[in-house]
Amino acid sequence: MKENKVIKVGMADLNTTTAPGILTTLGLGSCVGICLYDPTTKVAGMAHIMLPDSKKIKNNSNKAKFADTAIDWLIEEMIKKGARKYRLVSKIAGGAQMFAFMNKNDMMKIGEKNVIAVKEILSNLNIPIVAEDTGGNYGRTIEFYSENGILLVKTIGHGIKEL
């Protein structure tokens, strides 16, 4: 019997797997976990992005850090494993605002900005978002199962969700 391989995806990192592999990222806060899936070949990919846009940052060599460059790179890696771009669907989680402040501060809204950027990029690529668990003020650990495309979202004090 083949054992389910669990592959960890760190902060500003991405990885891909094929069934029955499981991709996980631990403790997502304002970052966003982007999960792409080709249901036919069961190729799954996960990216853990920190910032919305590589073009606004000078120090942008780490492609997995930014929503725009990470998604492009993730798709390339999935195609190498046999996925087809037109079949890809996505599930996203994270983008929390961990600390609340009364007055307006752009940095504090970074979670929300990350989510907006990810949605826009996926929409431009015609990749449908079939499920999401974003926002709020709490952290999330996510597990993405390549066997069936299920995304498990675990929290401390806010329950477990299956997307």
Partner: protein, 209 residues
């Protein structure tokens, strides 16, 4: 512009600020508790962002984060992070033995005590930075979160992420009798404020070196 942390002079200066700031924070804590507080020499580290959660027990470890914005001549933020055991120990010390009854949940009283401790420690840290640089620096009211280390640390990591793939951490350990409290400070000046901070400390030409 390369990484600020590629430059040794910059790192040394930030380390020294860390030492002085943590020392003042320990003094403040001793006054607050009216007890003798010993402190280990703070460890100042520049780490890859992805390695930071491991330092505090892994991305899913429950930690307390108290977060402030820095305002005035510098913009940015400061965060004080404690693991959950250290959080409980500090609350116990400060309240002469108050115990949070629920095992997995932090009650409001404990939260407000932690928020206030974070306030005093970060305030004394910032005031030493202020007197060292001659800059007028203030901190905002605190905001507290108790959650997974990875999630809490994503906040300073993202802010550092705009200027570097590395993050500067000041690890301090306070000791009262048999109780140890380990805390971490993250000082994150905004992009433009780095120049102001370094210039005020006499480092004006660091770029590209």
């Amino acid at each position: 512009m390369g990484g600020y942390f590629d430059n040794n002079i910059v790192i040394d200066i930030l380390k020294e600020i860390g030492n002085i700031g943590a020392g003042n924070a320990a003094t403040a804590l001793a006054k607050m508790l009216n007890k003798r507080i010993d402190m280990n020499v703070p460890k100042v580290n520049v780490l890859d962002i992805s390695d930071v959660p491991a330092l505090i027990g892994g991305p899913e470890t429950l930690v307390t984060g108290v977060y402030f914005k820095i305002e005035g001549d510098l913009d940015g933020s400061i965060m004080f992070v404690l693991d959950i055991n250290s959080s409980q120990t500090l609350v116990k010390l400060l309240t002469s033995g108050y115990q949070n009854n629920k095992d997995n949940e932090i009650d409001d009283f404990t939260k407000s005590v932690l928020q206030e401790i974070g306030n005093i420690l970060s305030g004394s840290y910032i005031s030493s930075l202020s007197s060292l640089t001659g800059l007028n620096i203030k901190i905002s009211i605190p905001s507290i979160a108790i959650d997974m280390a990875g999630a809490i640390l994503s906040v300073p990591a993202i802010q550092f992420g705009q200027i570097s793939d590395k993050i500067l951490i000041i690890e301090t350990e306070f000791i009262e009798g048999s109780d140890n409290v380990k805390g971490f400070f993250f000082l994150v000046p905004d992009y433009d404020s780095y120049d102001i901070l370094l210039k005020s400390l006499g480092v004006s030409d660091y770029e590209g070196k």
